[in-house]
């Protein structure tokens, strides 16, 4: 089995290879490669190796035209998780509050229905999708664009460890590989490859998320795009996809239908009359606390109390002083 040698070779030479190169350099490397020792070191670091030729290797990922030599896997879940029906949720790193809210909601609802949420641990949409999945207690898979032992971005270190506690972090890169710009498009093909469907939440005109979409389309996977405001540069990419024929996503049911799943029934929450009135107004459009006060006739104190009730029930979120129903 030379796949592990190949991955180690790529890490050492800082190159991207998926098939054993011809020539003496690799042949010598492979001859001298101590596979048992390398595996033991991986194991000490809590990392498993899943070679492309393993039976456990996710078939969807094996089916793409340039599957990685194998995956380094870290986390508490079994690698079987990678074979379960999965949805990729991707989008802009500097997303709007709307994008963050949609990503989180999708993560939560898709995971609650039993799908595996796959994303890239980046800031913005990726991170929110992971958080949403964790919120509902569902497993989620983070695909890294750097060595499996690295947490990138560093600000998501804590999120990464929460993901590993119930789900998996995977990477085609061996421990010690530094993040580099060219590795992220390569990482995106794994995100798309692992997933039967890809959802784009918010993307600028030239966004990494669109690379993921192209790869998904090449492999004939389903692509959903979340419609955005036509005036915002942040939704240009997603709206362009819609114009080109991507399926518009208006609720997580659109995705679940593809898998023949239904949304987990929401817990019935009993709301007070004030909270009900506020929610009715929030369903029309996002609003600030003061606008809600004017619309509902509540005083500032009673309104704050109603909004907390909605937030605790998980049906409203606040960002920058503006509340949205979710």
């Amino acid at each position: 089995m030379t796949e592990l040698a190949l991955a180690a070779f790529a890490a050492e030479r800082d190159v991207h290879v998926i098939r054993a190169p011809h020539g003496r350099v690799f042949a010598m490397f492979a001859r001298r490669f101590d596979e048992a020792g390398y595996l033991a070191r991986l194991q000490r670091g809590g990392v498993r190796w899943l070679a492309r030729s393993d039976d456990d290797f996710p078939p969807l990922l094996r089916a793409i035209h340039d599957p990685p030599a194998g995956l380094f896997v870290r986390g508490a879940a079994e690698v079987e998780l990678l074979r379960r029906p999965a949805v990729a949720v991707v989008g802009a790193r500097s997303c709007s509050p709307y994008g963050a809210q949609v990503a989180r909601m999708l993560g939560r609802e898709l995971a609650a229905a039993g799908l595996v949420v796959v994303s890239g641990l980046a800031r913005g949409v990726d991170g929110e999708a992971h958080r949403g999945a964790l919120e509902s207690g569902g497993p989620t898979v983070a695909v890294l664009g750097c060595g499996i032992d690295r947490d990138y971005p560093a600000a998501h270190g804590e999120l990464a460890s929460r993901i590993r506690a119930t789900g998996l972090a995977v990477s085609e890169y061996a421990p010690g590989v530094e993040p580099a710009p060219w590795r992220f498009p390569a990482r995106n093909r794994i995100i798309a490859g692992l997933s039967a469907a890809t959802v784009v939440v918010e993307a600028r005109e030239r966004s990494g998320a669109l690379i993921t979409v192209d790869l998904a389309l090449e492999e004939g996977r389903e692509v959903f795009a979340v419609p955005g405001e036509i005036t915002s540069a942040l939704s240009r990419g997603a709206n362009d996809l819609l114009r080109l024929g991507a399926t518009p996503l208006t609720s997580s049911d659109d995705v679940l239908e593809l898998f023949g799943l239904e949304q987990a029934p929401a817990e019935a929450v009993e709301l007070g009359p004030a909270a009900d009135a506020v929610l009715a107004r929030l369903r029309d459009a996002p609003a600030s606390a003061d606008e809600l006060a004017r619309a509902t006739g509540l005083d500032a104190g009673a309104l704050a109390s109603a909004l907390t009730e909605l937030e605790l029930a998980g049906i409203a979120v606040a960002s920058g002083g503006v509340y949205r129903a979710g």
């Binding site: 790193r93 500097s94 800031r123 913005g124 600000a155 915002s232 540069a233 600030s288 606390a289 003061d290 606008e291 006060a293 004017r294 005083d299 500032a300 104190g301 009673a302 309104l303 704050a304 109390s305 109603a306 909004l307 907390t308 009730e309 937030e311 605790l312 998980g314 606040a318 960002s319 920058g320 002083g321 503006v322």
Partner: protein, 486 residues
Amino acid sequence: MLARTVTHALVGLEARRVEVEAHLQRGVPGFAIVGLADRACQEAKERVRSGIASAELEWPVRRITVNLAPAGLRKEGSGFDLPIALSILAASGQLPRERLADHAAVGELALDGRLRPVGGVLALAEAARQAGLPRILCAARSAPEAALAGIDPVPVRHLAEAAAYLRGEGEPEPYVERNGHPPEPPSLDLADVRGQERARRALEIAAAGGHNLLLAGPPGTGKTMLARRLPGILPSLTPAEALEVTRIHSVAGLLAADRPLVTSRPLRSPHYSSSVAAIVGGGSGPKPGEVSLAHRGVLVLDEFAEFQRSALEALRQPLEDGVVSIARAGGRAIFPARFQLVAAMNLCPCGARGDPAAECSCSPQRLASFRDKLSRALLDRFDLVVAMPRPRAAELAAAAAEPSEPVRGRVAAARERIEAGRPKWSKEATELLDRAVERLPLSGRGRARARRVAETIAALAAEPGVGAEHLAEALAYRSPTELGTA
């Protein structure tokens, strides 16, 4: 030929007794000041010499040694001019020595012999009274301030006047207590702030419970306007508090001559470029910083995130303990600093976040470093955090809002209830708190904060116990995740 005058030196806010001894001996005429006198104090030589000459008194042609005892204490400033001059005059027999024994003295001499006021007279006069001295000689402009200490001030305009008084030749024009103070300028009124009901409500809660408040939102939403109106809804200072505040402002030399007693709550708003020493106090002879000048009042930090990180972190001790202690080689100065903090900031470096009409252009890295500056520990000091989005035009056109007067009434009533004792927690409220800790990112400190704010809200509502609705409102003012690193 020895004479002695008593004065006091300031160490922080504390006045220590200093005896100014003058000794004249035969020998080559000269003038030396010993006893750890700083530069301003050494220069007293020239002022005293000219002052004595201008007062048409005689400069003794002797070898003059002035000792400021205890010699180990650093003496700073120009307030020693008058006691030095009086000691020399007494030593040369121009003044009766025994008259000096029951007077304290403080003041700076002008070259023409007139007396100038110095800072910290209130603290010095208090110390003199405690030392059992019945009268204090001071500049006429300092007399109202000295009178606050309950000592009999002798207002002196000129060194000659002081000499005449001590010789018993005439009393200086006595200090007449004016018929009350001139009215203070009216404080800013809440009626000027249109819209922003939520932030107004948070301001009222902050005033009632003495909570620190953080206002976050795009520029031009009224954050600073609101912050500056907090003193106007706080109850007025008690006489003891007024004296405390006056003492600090006196040491900093900030008192207006016609209004010696500070009766309204101070409002301080240092610029964000201020140094750590300017904020918490410092200097070789420690001077009070902005946090102490805001004692019993309000410290407004506008553009909070632009302050130096070290200055923000330095705020943590005074916020926690209500005092600043500054250690120096010569000793430790403790300044009271029990202030209410109101901070205002943008939600992102470019300021567009929270503004529906603008798009934020901050890169994720820039945003991250902006947030990193506000440490969790510092954000945890704010009981109330309010995000203020830009109001729409309709809100700004709304009718005039409630003025400060009724708000101040509600705040005062709530404060009375809070002082009467802690309220009971209803079962629903306790359950809600447990649920909130589970569902929201709420730290242990965050939980305690929500409890405190809920109790204030219950007091404002004149309820005997804390209900679920009070806690729910308190939770709405928790620090939003976008300010944290979550």
